[in-house]
């Protein structure tokens, strides 16, 4: 049972990675002068849309979490609206955190905000898909020994690796190499993306590796 789950996890993750790769190549067909570095903001928007779409699709198709008991339409709508609000809030919170970390307050607001959006896409959207708008569950998943399934485990890994990626992405900014990707926030967004992709790759492997040790409360 477990192996099947891990396989499903791997396929969904590969799909996510594929969507990111598509977001790099598809726009250059439709848009002229598209490149990740020069039209960075466009790419950010497209990548965010792609990843969100794939996540939602997977949520609908794979249904990793036990579906809610009450599935009335109004409940679904409120849940969806709540998710949207949570997503927006997480964007704003990330924006505030970036500013507290030293991002310029007045200049480059759009760049900073789009970085917040893409980081929310990599972290909050999967959380919302999997856990729903439920802060308690989030806190549980992100504390030690709190995960209850491989899905949550992989969520933990991808989220942390996205954060770590954007954290490490800030490192090259003070260096004097004068490369175009050292500009705020490009190195951070690239770091977040690499971190997310790395998390997507690592988490199925890690879970497969440790499948003997991993015991979940409800299994």
């Amino acid at each position: 049972m477990k192996n099947i789950d891990i396989k499903r996890l791997l396929y969904t993750h590969l799909l996510c990675i594929f969507s990111i790769i598509l977001s790099i190549f598809i726009p250059s067909v439709f848009l002229e002068n598209f490149s990740i570095l020069e039209t960075h903001l466009t790419w950010l928007c497209i990548c965010s849309v792609f990843v969100t779409a794939v996540n939602l699709l997977l949520y609908v198709v794979v249904k990793p979490s036990a579906s809610a008991k009450r599935s009335s339409l109004s409940y679904k709508v409120t849940r969806f609206l709540k998710c949207c609000i949570y997503f927006l809030m997480s964007c704003f919170v990330f924006h505030v955190i970036f500013v507290l970390y030293g991002a310029p307050l007045i200049e480059l607001v759009l760049e900073t905000f789009l970085f917040a959006v893409i980081l929310s896409t990599f972290t909050t959207v999967p959380c919302l898909c999997l856990l729903g708008p439920n802060i308690k569950a989030w806190l549980r998943v992100f504390s030690r020994n709190g995960v209850t399934s491989i899905w949550e485990n992989s969520l933990q890994i991808t989220t942390i690796s996205s954060f770590l990626g954007s954290w490490f992405g800030a490192f090259p900014i003070p260096l004097d190499w004068e490369r175009p990707w050292q500009v705020w926030p490009i190195s951070c967004t690239l770091g977040a993306t690499f971190g997310y992709v790395a998390g997507l790759v690592i988490s199925p492997l890690w879970i497969y590796w440790n499948r003997k040790q991993l015991t979940y409360k409800n299994n």
Partner: protein, 980 residues
Amino acid sequence: MRLGCGAFAAGCVAVEVLGVALFLRGFFPPPVRSSSQPAPPAAPEPSAGASSSGTKLLPPLFGKVVVMLIDGLRDDFVFGSKGVKFMPYTTYLVEEGASHSFVAEAKPPTVTMPRIKALVTGSLPGFVDVVRNLNSPALLEDNVVTRATAAGKRVIFYGDETWVKLFPKHFVEYDGTTSFFVSDYTEVDDNVTRHLDKVLKRGDWDVLILHYLGLDHIGHISGPSSPLIGRKLSEMDSILMRIHTSLQSEEREALSPSLLVLCGDHGMSESGGHGAASLEEVSTALLLTSSAFSRKPGEVRPPERVQQTDLAATLAVGLGLPIPQHSVGRFLFPVMQGRAMREQLRFLHLNAVQLSRLLQASNPVYEREPGFEQFKMSERLHGNWVRLYLENNNSEVLLNLGAKVRRQYLGALKSLSRAVSSQVAQYDIYSMVLGTVVVLEVLALLLLSIPQALGAAAELEVPLSPVCSLLFYLAFLLLWAMHVVVCTSAERSRYLCSLTWPMAGGVLALVSALLCGVLSALTRTCVDGKLLRRNPTPSSWRWSELDFLTLAGTAGHVLSLGASSFIEEEHQTWYFLVSTLCLALCHESYRACFLGEDGEPRHCSSPASALQDRSVSCDVLELDQACQSPSSLDGLGGREKYMALASPWLVLGCCRLLRSLNQTGVQWAHRPDLGHWLTSSEHQAELSILSALSLLAIFALVQSRCSPLSKGALALGLLGVYCYRTATGHLLFPWQQDSKDLSRGIIEARFVYVFVLGILFTGIKQVLKSQVLTADVQAKTVGLWDVHSALVLLAALLFRPHNLPVLLCSLLTQTLMARFLWRPLGHGAAEVTIMHYWFGQAFFYFQGNSNNIATVDISAGFVGLNTYMEVPAMFLTAFATYAGPVLWASHLVNFLSWEPSSDLALGRACFCYALLSSIPVSAYIVLVTALRYHLFIWSVFSPKLLYEGMHLLVTAALCLCFTAVGRSSTKADTGRIARC
């Protein structure tokens, strides 16, 4: 013999300071020159056999010399588009007038004082000169100004006060303007220009030196592209025109021509600062104008690149003075072009002889230098030429030979000058290696004793076994043999070899003793490890995220020191780490708050030493205490719980605010920041309000834990701080509308000093009393807090007014963190120490410091002092610079003395503090040794090395204080236990 780990750590750091001092002595060897050495007589003119008449000095080329030095005059301000636009007269001189223009290259550090020295002595001031001469005492080295005064020339100076300090008795007339207030760029120059008319009319002088500061100040305020620059350049152009026309009209009366020199001391980076080695900072304009220079009409002379040091030799030759002994420059030959061949050759010979003497003094194998060989050959040719000349052979042969000799001489001068310049930086590798060995041994000792120091007893065994002493003697003998071999085979002077043998023996004994200590610690660790493997005890201690962060942060910071950009922008590293630390604390407090009940009992696991080994966590005593203390957020009331949730965000907000208060570093230093906004003269009212509010808030934060007596003293002291700043004109009183004349605020500052000393005295008295007489913990905490508040008061006095919010935020952060995070979450001594250390480092940069010498605020050393007094000024400057780390360390002592077993905690804290600051120092020393031929070694790495050395010294002092306090509390605890 057993030793408490605090005392052990303090001893280690003290030894490490010795090691670093030895390393620094080897890294910055003082230049090989002696000021007392009499000048050698002028070399006679070479002539084969016959004694010639040319031993006398040559007559001066110019009757009068005016040096117009414009601070920060970059080359493109004169020769570039700006020059064409704003300096029409100068451009005319450059393009058509009788002038020679050069781009003079300044050597880093491109700071005014060393550059002035380079201009007048022609030597390259060593890097240490910058530090040694922060107060610029009189220049004792051989230089043009001293020579001119000695030769009876009358020298007049107007401009930057630095000159007056360098040459206190040399000028017949002077008016120094202070360069303290960078925001003023009109008055500093008007102060110089107002004397011009009088002086130019009078004409009873030989040398006139003008030093204009305004341009550099504009650069500092608004950068080289500001519109103010253009206006200033036009002003300078008109002044140049005035001087030039006046000189020309005077020349018609006098016979000898005069020389006008326009030069800059250093350039200006694109952000407007200077000090480093970028092309914009080292390229300065140099323009020599005299009617003696001939120029064919229409001749285009693009500015040639020369060295700044060449000007000293040129001025000496121009005034008919001997070239300064230590000058490494060659005189600017175009100046001589119109003269007779014999004179030309004579001057070239004099310069070459001076350079070759310098080379002989600094290089034992000087004969092998190509420049020296060239010089000998040209001297021989010169002799032949003189003989031919004396035979009155006026043929074509003489002319051709002369031209050949001249060419030879110019080549020789070039290579000699290069050889001598490269001789300046010679590392004393032997001292460096021994210093590094000491530092590394201390680090190894500290690292190996981590398990014991953070273990239950926090005590260490001092190895005194016979095996150890045997090892010691062996190592000592070996080292002594090595020392003898090194010293006897030395080509160059080595510092350790020049010491008396007991001193050198002491150093070697220290090295071998440390080696024995390291080896015994190593064997002990191995034995312990084996024992532990045989009967492994289940370890209850787990790594928390915070421990990971602190370890990774420390390691990352050490690694980052390898890149010059990361050193320049080190503040970013600390801001980043501190922000991350706040977020980690936030995460922890949220988890403790919301999942407190089902989270694992983290607070009762051994008190969290990030550096603690897994093997030593059987720490029963500590465990008990940690569990007994009400150390969970559940114990807090509702309001306090919310504060615990909000305080990380408040701290983050504070940090963000402070980050935009002072932009430091290099890349973003030009960004507008709140500090500049506040210090500009239009916003004095805002600055006054902000300072008053900050002082009030500081009082509110500090007073609650003070003794009543010091509470009053603190209030009066803070009032005195405000009065002092109004007296110096930084701040305003609401009722004082008209600006009255400014005093230096001596009385007010001394008034504050009295209160500082008073509070310090009561605090120390309380601590001593609690230590000796009554084992009263309460009295001791109050006493320690009094000491802390005295330090806060002193910092408030010394900080610039716009930096008072830094002090306020530091106190606020300390209060919030201690009350709502560290104490409720039950962090151990080691973790708390690491966090204090990080915050201390971050606040060091929040104050506006950087790894550049230029940001040290020297004015703090003059607060309340009438004249420059070396020791108090040094102490005050050091305190003002390191106020952030010192205040955080003193808060650490206060925080830990509040805890139940404060002696153990203080010992551990002292150990961690010592370890934390010695890891970067040791790594950095090794790194600098490896990178000693790096391009940025003088501009980036050396200042950082000095900062690291100073930081280690401060740490050593702090560790001693820690140990002293810890000692007293040991007695207090034993007293308490006895009572129980």
